[in-house]
């Protein structure tokens, strides 16, 4: 799952893959703003067929959080 998400973030958000580690924080390390994070969430929903509640987005601070969220619901 992590590798898939890493590839997705790197491609769609145009980020250097080496930055995308499990502990990377979306806002602080990957420099995504809340709208870009919402965009990423939509991409993940489409890719993995999991609905991410808008109210849960603020709890997804790191790449690892997103991986765990998707794994729990996949």
């Amino acid at each position: 799952m992590f590798e898939k998400i890493k590839a997705l973030i790197s491609e769609k958000m145009e980020l250097d893959p080496s930055l995308i580690v499990p502990t990377a924080q979306f806002v602080e390390d990957l420099k995504l703003n809340s709208l870009e994070l919402a965009d990423l969430v939509v991409l993940c929903e489409e890719e993995f067929g999991v609905e991410i509640d808008e109210d849960d987005i603020h709890t997804l601070l790191t790449v690892e959080d997103l991986v765990n969220y998707l794994e729990d619901r996949a």
């Binding site: 602080e28 420099k31 809340s34 709208l35 603020h58 601070l61």
Partner: protein, 594 residues
């Protein structure tokens, strides 16, 4: 007529009921709102919206809520807006709350404002059910319909039933207190009106009486309740209408939360005044989809959206191999514009296509906008009308008009509002002060805080610094207050976050600041921390790196309990104490100079 305001004849309203009923008569079956419900696009006309709001108003009178505080909390829906208007029209006090607040804070605000009813989206039903004992004054919990798929769709309105011919009977029993669906309140209102109820007609609005309490950011203890009168609201709506160039033909997409007075005044009530259609974006996740679906001609945004849109334009151009073409088009457009030929619509059709292809104006406020964006969007044929406001002014202070724009300025004060600079320095820079019908009544049950911002001559001290040029245009240069204004329009009081940090064992002193990115936009909070090194050593953390890592872990745990805009995005550890005043308070303004 002031030279800064459009000379076109414009409608002005006397009160919110005049706004509602006038728009019903003027715009009738035209769509006021378009929104998604149950997966389908629905619409409600100006006439139907007014009719439903009138029903709700009649019901509120009967429920004994005239003169009482009524809270509304939830995502944007037509019913949320109806609740706001009906409360004011029934002589109540509307208390819009931020749905991102934690439950304890929501209860705190409901009690502080002594709310007798709360209209809430289904997301709050369970938490309110479990907190009844903490909310002794709340008599009605009315569940609003929702746009969210995860809650079952309800039928919010009383159906018109023409088959009933007999004279309707006025209900003998009052609506039961406790939990009620919106549809039950709507139905009661319909029956009352069918029985000839004239409560709303008989009620004479006192324009200077309290009609809205808007809590500023912070916790129940630190937040201030801005008290607005109907005169404040009406004046701000009329000003917004005169200063922006919205028209009857405009279609807006509402993306900002309605508990913000900026969105409510400029993005919801101004379109009601002018007959423009508002399409409701259902979630942060669907912003771009909504643009393509509803194809707006105008948007009311905060800087975060404007900078993201700009980035998106260039990212899309690069991905589709059109970056060079876009750069060439920009140069060509500049040349043709100089000879009076406006080819922007044609040259930048692909740029505008990303937002539905019809976007021509963005009203931007809520936080300072990087001034570079204004000419850049102008080049694409999208005019940015920047405004400056503060909740205490309902919220409009000034608008930089599209037809007399000065770059880097937030424009002249809106009609009816006077502006001046208090204690200007030799460059004319001082605190921006305003006086006029937009200015609040004061802070709710806080005369000391009110006295601190309102002087004896009635001038409201904004806490923002700047200067006013010879044409009356306001230029903002900084802030006096500690509040951090993020580029998404959210205000954060650093003291609130600092309290959380100081609860941590390893933090001895701290200051929370807003750090700017490369574009000069304040995007998130940074905590400057002086650790408690003695305690760190006692915990076996021998060096700075270990202490820093331990603090970062604690901050990450804290962040999970905070709404996104209050989360700490950066941590800077320092090895010396902060500079303090003689009373041992940290000198905040010195922090950035160190």
């Amino acid at each position: 007529m002031n030279k800064f305001f459009s000379t076109k004849e414009k409608r002005e309203i006397q009160n919110l009921r005049d706004l509602l009923l006038g728009s019903r008569d003027l715009y009738g079956t035209k769509d006021y709102f378009r929104y998604k419900r149950g997966g389908e696009i629905k619409n409600i006309s100006f006439a139907d919206f007014a009719s439903e709001t009138e029903r709700l108003t009649a019901a509120l009178f009967e429920m004994g809520l005239s003169g009482k505080a009524i809270a509304v909390i939830g995502e944007t829906t037509p019913e949320w807006v109806m609740t706001y208007i009906a409360t004011v029209n029934a002589g109540g006090i509307i208390v819009p709350l931020d749905r991102e607040l934690q439950h304890e804070e929501i209860c705190g605000f409901l009690n502080k404002a002594e709310c007798a009813a709360v209209f809430h989206s289904p997301a709050f039903t369970e938490s309110f059910e479990n907190s009844r004992d903490k909310l002794p004054l709340v008599r009605y919990f009315v569940e609003l319909p929702t746009n969210k798929k995860k809650y079952a769709d309800s039928h919010p309105y009383a159906e018109d039933d023409d088959s009933v011919k007999e004279e309707p009977l006025r209900p003998q029993l009052p609506l039961p207190e406790g939990k009620l669906p919106f549809s039950a309140v709507s139905l009661r209102g319909k029956v009352l009106l069918d029985c000839g109820d004239t409560s709303a007609d008989d009620y004479e609005a006192d324009m200077d009486r309290l009609c809205a309490i808007l809590f500023t950011s912070g916790t129940t203890g630190t937040s201030k309740g801005v008290m607005l009168s109907q005169r404040n609201l009406v004046s701000a709506i009329n000003s917004s209408h005169r200063s922006t160039e919205f028209s009857y033909d405009d279609i807006l997409v509402s993306v900002l939360p309605t508990h913000h007075t900026y969105e409510m005044t400029c993005g919801i009530l101004t379109p009601l005044l002018i007959g423009a259609t508002v399409c409701i974006n259902e979630s942060l996740k669907t912003v771009l989809k909504s643009m393509m679906l509803y194809r707006p001609t105008a948007l009311v945004l905060v800087p975060l959206y404007v900078s993201t849109i700009y980035k998106k334009i260039w990212d899309t151009a690069e991905k589709t191999g059109k970056k060079k073409m876009l750069e060439t088009a920009l140069k060509a457009s500049g040349v043709t514009m100089k000879v009076g030929l406006d080819l922007r619509k044609m040259l930048f059709s692909t740029v505008r296509a990303a937002f539905g292809g019809r976007l021509k104006m963005i009203v931007c406020g809520g936080a300072p906008l990087n001034p570079e964006f204004v000419p850049r969007f102008d080049e694409f044929g999208i005019s940015i009308v920047e405004g400056y406001g503060i909740t205490e002014c309902a919220p409009l202070i000034s608008v930089n008009p599209a037809f007399a724009k000065k770059y880097h300025s937030v424009g002249p004060a809106v009609a009816g509002l006077e502006s001046r600079i208090d204690a200007p320095d030799d460059q004319g820079i001082g605190e921006i002060c305003v006086k006029g019908p937009n200015v609040m009544l004061g802070y709710y049950r806080d005369p000391d805080a009110t006295d601190a911002v309102m002087d004896e001559e009635g001038w409201f001290h904004t806490g923002d610094c700047g200067y006013i040029d010879e044409d009356g245009y306001i230029f903002i240069t900084g802030r006096q207050k500690n509040v951090i204004v993020l580029n998404n329009g959210k205000n954060v009081f650093p003291e609130e976050i600092e309290e959380h940090l100081l609860d941590m064992n390893l933090v001895r002193e701290c200051v929370v600041v807003g750090r700017d990115n490369e574009e000069g936009q304040t995007v998130g909070l940074t905590a400057l921390i002086f650790p408690d090194f003695d305690r760190a050593r006692a915990m076996g953390l021998d060096d700075l790196t270990a202490t820093t890592e331990a603090i970062k872990k604690e901050v990450a745990i804290l962040n999970r309990t905070l709404p996104a805009f209050k989360q700490i995005r950066g941590i800077e550890i320092r090895q010396t104490e902060f500079v303090k005043t003689t009373t041992k308070k940290i000198k905040r303004h010195k922090v950035n100079e160190e």
